[in-house]
């Protein structure tokens, strides 16, 4: 039995960790890595969109109900673009819907951050901000992708995500620099979510193949810009960047938290209960 530290420590080499699919395991075909990478982009949007749509009708003010629904709508739209392309690149006739509704948890490629439960509204906003700050850098870089389809999706999505970030950053600042209670809640959210941010920048063989093909940036290259956005917003919000260095990982390779199974049980219910039915 392999020791857990192999996969749980920050410096573990995931490409060699047992049980985690590598390019070699995928048959080393570059199109498989590409499809895999596209699923990562799509699944991040799908799972985060799902999470925030759980707030529908339950937000603290009506304006937030509207804004969250709007963000979820953007993310579901982006999901369709990424996953349709993933299916096309994969070439097995799978559509965005097949990928979303008929894969089990281990085939999902989203980062762990987006599947974290909503918690209180501050927790939801902090998760959104930490993700948006990465998402925008990723999409900016992808606009010069060697693959014009990727560049096209990124250009469209970047416009939407710039607005997501503007909104989430603004709310993190206002709540951080609000009351004692709102500050405490935002700091708790940041502390809890922090160990899930590192995964956004950890590359593996898929990322390496994408970077070599000029399709996507090396995830590590996005770190500096993200760091500076986060530092600036946290300073204005009077929040303290957590000191811990431990980071969870595995989502991008299909190793998820318990939360994802419940998300899929909800999301896939009808497709699973009525196989082959059209809706």
């Amino acid at each position: 039995m392999p020791s857990l530290t192999d996969v749980m420590t920050a410096d573990a080499d995931l490409t060699r960790a047992p049980g985690i699919r590598t390019i070699a395991a995928l048959g080393a075909a570059p199109e498989n890595a590409f499809a895999e990478w596209l699923c990562r982009m799509g699944d991040n949007c799908l799972i985060l969109g799902h999470r925030i749509s759980e707030w529908c009708g339950h937000a603290p003010v009506l304006e937030e109900d509207i804004a969250l629904a709007n963000t979820a709508l953007d993310l579901i739209g982006q999901t369709r673009l990424w996953l349709d392309l993933a299916g096309e690149v994969e070439g097995k006739g799978r559509s965005a819907d097949t990928l979303a509704y008929l894969r089990d948890a281990a085939q999902f490629r989203n980062v762990l951050l987006v599947e974290r439960p909503n918690g209180d509204f501050g927790h939801t906003l902090m998760r959104q901000f930490l993700f948006d700050a990465w998402h925008i850098e990723m999409l900016r870089a992808l606009q010069s992708s060697a693959d014009p389809r990727v560049a096209g999706i990124a250009a469209k999505a970047a416009k939407e995500v710039a607005y997501h970030l503007e909104r989430s950053a603004d709310l993190v600042i206002r709540l951080g620099d609000g009351t004692e209670e709102s500050r405490a809640r935002m700091q708790t959210a940041l502390d809890r979510l922090w160990p899930y941010t590192g995964e956004l920048f950890m590359g593996d063989a898929v990322d390496q193949a994408m970077a070599e093909a000029g399709i996507a940036p090396d995830p590590a290259s996005l770190r500096a810009a993200w760091d500076s956005t986060v530092a600036e917003v946290m300073a204005t919000a009077t929040l303290v960047r957590p000191g811990g260095t431990f980071q969870h990982r595995g989502g991008k390779q299909g190793r998820h938290t318990e939360a994802l199974g419940y998300i899929l049980a909800d999301m896939q219910f009808l497709q699973r209960a009525y196989p082959g039915a059209v809706w």
Binding site: L46, H50, S53, E54, C56, G57, H58, A59, P60, V61, L62, E63, E64, D65, I66, A69, N70, A72, L73, I76, G77, T79, R80, L83, A96, D97, A100, Y101, D120, F121, G122, I173, R174, L175, D177, G178, T179, E181, S182, R183, R185, I263, D266, M267, F269, L270, Q271, Y274, A277, V278, W279
Partner: protein
């Protein structure tokens, strides 16, 4: 309807009216719009606050039964459409609270009245959405009934309410179409199980949809005054009849049976004869005994209470920012 059994105040015959009241009524009779700064009888103002407030509450409580299925929508396209629809409903709530504010009542006051049980929302949202077909049924029947009411309210005498209705009506037809489209897919291309699901939804939603128009005219004590003020344009029974006449052919197209053995075309009146809903059930639901009253109110109250720190945080930040700006201005002088 979204506003059911709104109590109207101060019904007066022309000879009992003061000169000011007569002049006001003349403006309404001429089809003029009343604007927030204009003089209006207190009864008109209060009745409108009740009606617009109840309508606004219905939009936001109405998010719950549909929001319930966003995470379970069967395709990404359906999910996106439903999200857009529910987002619209929240927007409608916003327009309507704003319209009510022009009458001198704040959104917070209206919400406090809702949470305290002093204000109502439409009876329809106290019924559960148990299957995906219910989402189709809500769009087709519930939004369909809402449109029937809102179209006439575009001509209502109060300017801000009328303008809110015009805006809302533009979005509502998409709501009804998306509902009908869900059912077309299930009924015309679906499996026997899907068709059964749709029929079951029809059986459960038909009478509650008819109840949306409120009690029969013979029992509608407040209608006369509201109609005199053009807060209401058509009677409950008129709208209900129109709704049935419009809906029957649509149901036939889907191959769904309306759960009413008495439903029959009447050549003489040029409309359908149909059974009345069970008004005892209606009054029970209004009184809080519908299948979901407790859950709906709990959900709204919890959202409000859990969100208190959020709203306070934003207000505290705004105060700090203003204070900092004032200090900066002072320092600059």
């Amino acid at each position: 309807m979204y506003a059911q059994m709104v109590k109207a105040e101060g019904a007066k015959a022309r000879e009992e009216m003061s000169e000011q009241e007569r002049a006001f009524q003349d403006r309404i009779d001429r089809g003029e719009k009343i604007e927030p700064k204009d003089w209006m009888p207190e009864g008109y103002r209060k009745t409108l606050i009740r009606q617009i407030g109840q309508h606004a509450h219905s939009e936001i409580v109405g998010q719950l039964p549909e929001g319930n299925w966003i995470t379970r929508a069967p395709t990404l396209e359906r999910k996106a459409i439903l999200l857009a629809k529910v987002q619209d409903e929240a927007g409608h709530g916003l327009y309507l609270y704003s319209a009510a504010e022009t009458l001198g009542v704040s959104r917070d006051e209206l919400l406090a009245a809702l949470h305290g049980g002093r204000m109502k929302y439409s009876s329809i949202f106290n019924y559960p959405t148990l299957t995906w077909a219910d989402i189709g049924m809500v769009g087709w029947l519930v939004d369909g009934a809402a449109i029937m009411n809102q179209v006439q309210l575009q001509k209502t005498s109060y300017g801000p309410y009328s303008r809110a209705m015009i805006r809302i009506c533009k979005e509502e037809s998409f709501h009804q179409r998306q509902g009908y489209d869900i059912l077309m897919k299930m009924c015309l291309q679906g499996t026997p199980e899907q068709k059964a699901m749709a029929q079951d939804a029809m059986n459960r939603f038909w009478y509650p949809a008819l109840m949306m128009f409120g009690p029969p005219d013979r029992d509608s004590v407040h209608s006369a005054q509201s109609m005199q003020w053009k807060i209401k344009i058509n009677t409950n029974d008129e709208l209900r009849q129109k709704f049935v006449d419009q809906t029957v052919p649509q149901a036939e197209y889907l191959g769904l049976t309306i759960p009413d053995p008495k439903l029959k075309w009447n050549d003489a009146k040029g409309g359908y004869d149909f059974s009345e809903p069970d008004w005892t059930e209606f009054f029970e639901v209004i009184a809080g005994n519908g299948p979901c009253n407790t859950e709906r109110m709990e959900a709204r109250i919890t959202a409000w209470e859990d969100g208190a720190w959020f709203r306070k945080g934003l207000m505290a930040h705004a105060r700090k920012r203003d204070a900092r700006r004032a200090a900066a201005r002072l320092a600059a002088e």
